[in-house]
Symmetry: C2
Subunit: 244 residues, 2 copies
Amino acid sequence: MLSKAKIKFIKSLQLKKYRKQEQCFVVQGAKSVHELLLSDFEIQFVLGTTEFLDAASLPKGLEIIAVQENELAGLSEFQTNDAALAVARMKPNTPVKIAPGEFALVLDDIRDPGNLGTIIRTADWFGISKIIASEETADIYNAKVISATMGSFVRVEMYYTALTDYLQSIKLPVYGAYLDGADVHTQAFHDGGFVVIGNESRGISPEIGQFITQKITIPQYGKAESLNAAIATAIICDNIRRPK
Amino acid sequence: MLSKAKIKFIKSLQLKKYRKQEQCFVVQGAKSVHELLLSDFEIQFVLGTTEFLDAASLPKGLEIIAVQENELAGLSEFQTNDAALAVARMKPNTPVKIAPGEFALVLDDIRDPGNLGTIIRTADWFGISKIIASEETADIYNAKVISATMGSFVRVEMYYTALTDYLQSIKLPVYGAYLDGADVHTQAFHDGGFVVIGNESRGISPEIGQFITQKITIPQYGKAESLNAAIATAIICDNIRRPK
């Protein structure tokens, strides 16, 4: 039985203010809730249709509430969700450790939740699991971000911090996409390092640009002036990973 | 002076039904309206702040209405727009001609307007200017699509049609991304052809799959199960264009 208090609690988590206060966030849809159940996130409770719950691998002791599809629809913020919803505890915002040879992304104010979610999903596809983000970057626990990650949020560690301070302590190469950099098709990406992705409107800010040790460029063959931030991320990651 | 009738007309074009009836669509924001003014689209009228209009290259005889920022904000469907808005005539839906050696995209039900817009922008970056789309694909004249193209809608020809009929008459290679295809990193893309991009949820449908002459695969290095449709498009285009 879904109580009014739970409905109110779930809906309150649409706002960052309440997510921060409660240290909890909402995961919606069968695919994402399945991924959450297999992850190391601490889950508060799961709502699911009987069809979803019968097929799910549910840990013992977890609070489970069987609901009707229309109850889920009423809780859904923006996406159609006819299967499941879970509330889980946010992870603490702790610095990520970069291993030798590893690549990490640095997000210089990615404001659009859909872009952030797509970047996380793309990073996960390319085996990049550490992301350092400016404090102005969209909140990973925003429902639109979680949805756009298609479950990849469980495998990627995000660390929100003041980027200028963070980058000052870095010794690895720092790559950033500019119009006048080295061609990503021929650039050697040997030693791991950081790939800075600039803001959707203004690109990489000058304050962050001073830490770039290697400017790179995605060759343009047509007339669009720029690429979407998530698209640029994907092309750079594919060029990092491809055999040289 | 912006009349009530014009406001009503502009707002009516938010719906596909009225766009179809009037054969007109709305373009919002300085960047997109600038691109429109330089294109071969037939423009009905332009609203702009005096700052925008002073800087714009406006053809003679075009109806121009100077407006305040707050008037534009009131007309804006979803994005912040503080500079300009234009209404232009839709182009007729005519078959695109593919030249020898040319690549074209085939969209098998891309439903999300943001994805469609990003695909158009990405195609334009990579010099691909012909797109054949299923009738279930999002409408290019939807304001969210136009916005996500960042002006590239003026350079890309879209043709909406029944894909199975269309593909039956094709003699060029038809590429499609599957999990068990040839590696895009080593696949030779010699002779031009069609690249089919599958629907966001189900990928390429079996009816369209039968026309694929070359299955290709984007190598996966991590654990995400799939890539966003626009991301996959970008990686395939980059691999088509890069020197072998």
